[in-house]
């Protein structure tokens, strides 16, 4: 214990170091390292097949990694899991599943009820409140399959809110979503950031990055650039990630 005191760093919500993931013997994420400071909102960007979703899933231990280490809030990610919410791509679940909107949001309360626990009236009204925060209270008893894509995404986000997580990881939250929903989701996410929570989202729309996110991680199998949006989201780095396409809208 008798070493020099380390230089204080802004606290890190999620730290990925040297993560490699392979499907069969083909690496889809190659030794990626990235750091997501507490209270930041980061866009993970890159072309299709760049390994963005894979990186996040492997970071959470949902798929096995070949090598690498992931820590959340200073602890191994498995131990910090209660503080993390994960919102998968909408296409990842079966929307014909026999469940109502409120049932899905109540799934977010699972940690507080446990394996055999039951929902108390207090917990039920809490789930309802989160649904209301996303303007979806009127839909509580709807069959989930009867919702539009944007409404489904809001339900997913309400479920994440019900968890009360400090780190929210979203996989393409704006894919196939209408403008009103996009605005509602962003306002909720900005609200979470204002509370000191950390947001990480896979994002595709190059034109909204600067407005929505304060940090960017550009990747294409490997990490290409990482840092504050203003200094990182630059033509050279984006071109390197996406290959050479027309990128005139992006500052040089």
């Amino acid at each position: 214990m008798a070493g020099p005191t380390p230089i204080p760093m802004p606290e890190t919500a999620l730290a990925i170091s040297g993560l490699t993931v392979a499907y069969g013997s083909v690496p889809v994420v190659a030794t990626v390292s990235a750091r997501f400071p507490k209270g930041s909102m980061t866009a993970v960007m890159g072309p299709n097949g760049a390994g963005k979703s894979t990186l996040l899933k492997a970071a959470l231990g949902l798929i096995p990694a070949v090598t690498g280490e992931v820590r959340a809030f200073g602890d191994p990610v498995a131990r910090s899991m209660p503080r993390i919410a994960y919102v998968p791509q909408r296409a990842a679940v079966d929307w014909e599943f026999p469940a109502r909107v409120i049932d899905v949001v109540q799934m977010g309360l699972y940690r507080r009820t446990g394996l055999f626990g039951r929902l108390t009236p207090g917990l039920r009204s809490e789930a309802m409140a989160q649904l209301d925060r996303l303007g979806m209270a009127d839909f509580a008893t709807r069959q989930i399959g009867a919702l539009s894509g944007g409404q489904q995404q809001r339900v997913f986000l309400a479920r994440a809110l019900a968890q009360g997580a400090d780190l929210v990881i979203l996989d393409e939250p704006f894919a196939g979503v209408d403008a009103a929903t996009e605005a509602a989701i962003i306002s909720v996410l900005h609200g979470l950031r204002a509370e000191g929570r950390t947001i990480i989202a896979v994002h595709h729309d190059l034109s909204t990055v600067t407005a929505y996110f304060d940090r960017v991680l550009l990747m294409n199998r490997r990490a290409i650039a990482e840092g504050p949006t203003a200094s990182t989201f630059r033509r050279a780095a984006v071109a390197e990630a996406y290959g050479h396409q027309l990128l005139t809208a992006i500052p040089a």
């Binding site: 069969g24 899933k57 959470l60 231990g61 949902l62 899991m81 209660p82 993390i84 919410a85 994960y86 919102v87 998968p88 990842a92 679940v93 079966d94 929307w95 014909e96 599943f97 026999p98 469940a99 109502r100 049932d103 899905v104 799934m107 699972y110 940690r111 009820t113 394996l115 055999f116 626990g117 069959q143 399959g145 009867a146 479920r159 968890q163």
Partner: protein, 306 residues
């Protein structure tokens, strides 16, 4: 009435109903997990497990049979996974390759070892022998209150009652995590739900139900009860608890009516014999499904319902 019904018809009836309930309950989750054919696979692979356990121990006691069957089911799960990984084949092909191979191995073991002459035989495995499970000590309805007569019940009955209670009880206890993990496995994992363990538990429960049912009623009834009643209920309602309840009701109805039809319908038609009760229950459950597919209020996929 009763003097023939109680010893000859009542035990198969109750056994078929218990087997149907034990299979239909996990079937609801298998259906939603796109694993409806797991029961098909398990009921095929159970055969080599039973034969191997019998050959190794020389005993056909229920715990030995159960252990052999579960070991075979576990081995098959590994085989399916290994085949999927090496060939990147679709799950259906990996499953088909595994269960046919295991079943072939079972038949071969059975025929070559001579075990078929003693205790097990292929026909029994395929058809079941529900009709043979009679209660000789019973005279009429009053035997249900007679401890001496009750002691002579076919041992399959209390065994299945126990397993049926265990399967239903565990599903009720694990209801919430099972639902969450079935709906969204990735999310469930981030909630600290042991998804792999839960998935293994569901497979184990299915195997337990299938094995218990298999030795009493044969593979066909097992497959039918795992798939048809939950599928029928799925076309009737959008609520999972209601789907579960309905599927149990349908399974029990098919079991009771199917057993009675197999026993009495041929007689009514003037034929001097009964037909396979297991087959008739399976066919009846298919008929229920056909009705639901034609008239069920929730039969259409959402994309076409609107």
């Amino acid at each position: 009435m009763g003097s023939e019904f109680v010893p000859l018809t009542l035990p198969p009836l109750v056994i078929a109903t218990l087997a149907a309930l034990a299979c239909a309950a996990p079937g609801n989750f298998l259906l939603l997990r796109r694993q409806a054919l797991l029961g098909d696979a398990i009921s095929h692979v159970v055969l080599p497990g039973l034969v191997a356990a019998f050959l190794l121990t020389g005993s056909a006691a229920p715990p030995v049979m159960l252990a052999g069957a579960l070991a075979a089911a576990a081995l098959s799960a590994l085989m399916i996974e290994a085949i999927r990984r090496t060939t990147s084949a679709d799950p259906g092909a990996a499953m088909g390759a595994t269960f046919t191979t295991m079943f072939a191995a079972g038949v071969l073991l059975l025929e070559l070892s001579g075990a078929s002459a003693t205790h097990l035989d292929v026909e029994h495995a395929l058809y079941g022998s529900l009709e043979a499970l009679i209660w000789i000590d019973a005279t009429d309805w009053s035997s249900l209150l007679d401890p001496a007569a009750l002691a002579g019940l076919p041992p399959e009955l209390p065994q299945l009652a126990l397993i049926c209670a265990a399967v239903l009880g565990l599903i009720a206890a694990l209801w919430r995590p099972l639902v969450i993990a079935t709906f969204d496995e990735g999310f469930a994992a981030t909630q600290g739900i042991p998804v792999r363990l839960l998935s293994a538990a569901l497979t184990g429960l299915t195997a337990l139900a299938a094995v218990a049912a298999f030795s009493a009623v044969g593979s066909i009834l097992t497959i039918a009860m795992l798939v048809c009643p939950p599928a029928t209920a799925r076309l009737m309602t959008d609520s999972l608890p209601r789907q579960m309840g309905l599927s149990l009701l349908i399974a029990a109805t098919a079991a009771v009516l199917g057993t009675l039809a197999a026993g009495y319908l041929p007689l009514l038609m003037g034929l001097p014999f009964a037909v396979s009760a297991a087959g008739s229950i399976a066919a009846l459950s298919g008929l229920f499904l056909a009705l639901a597919a034609a008239f069920g209020p929730r039969r259409l996929p959402l994309s076409r319902a609107a």
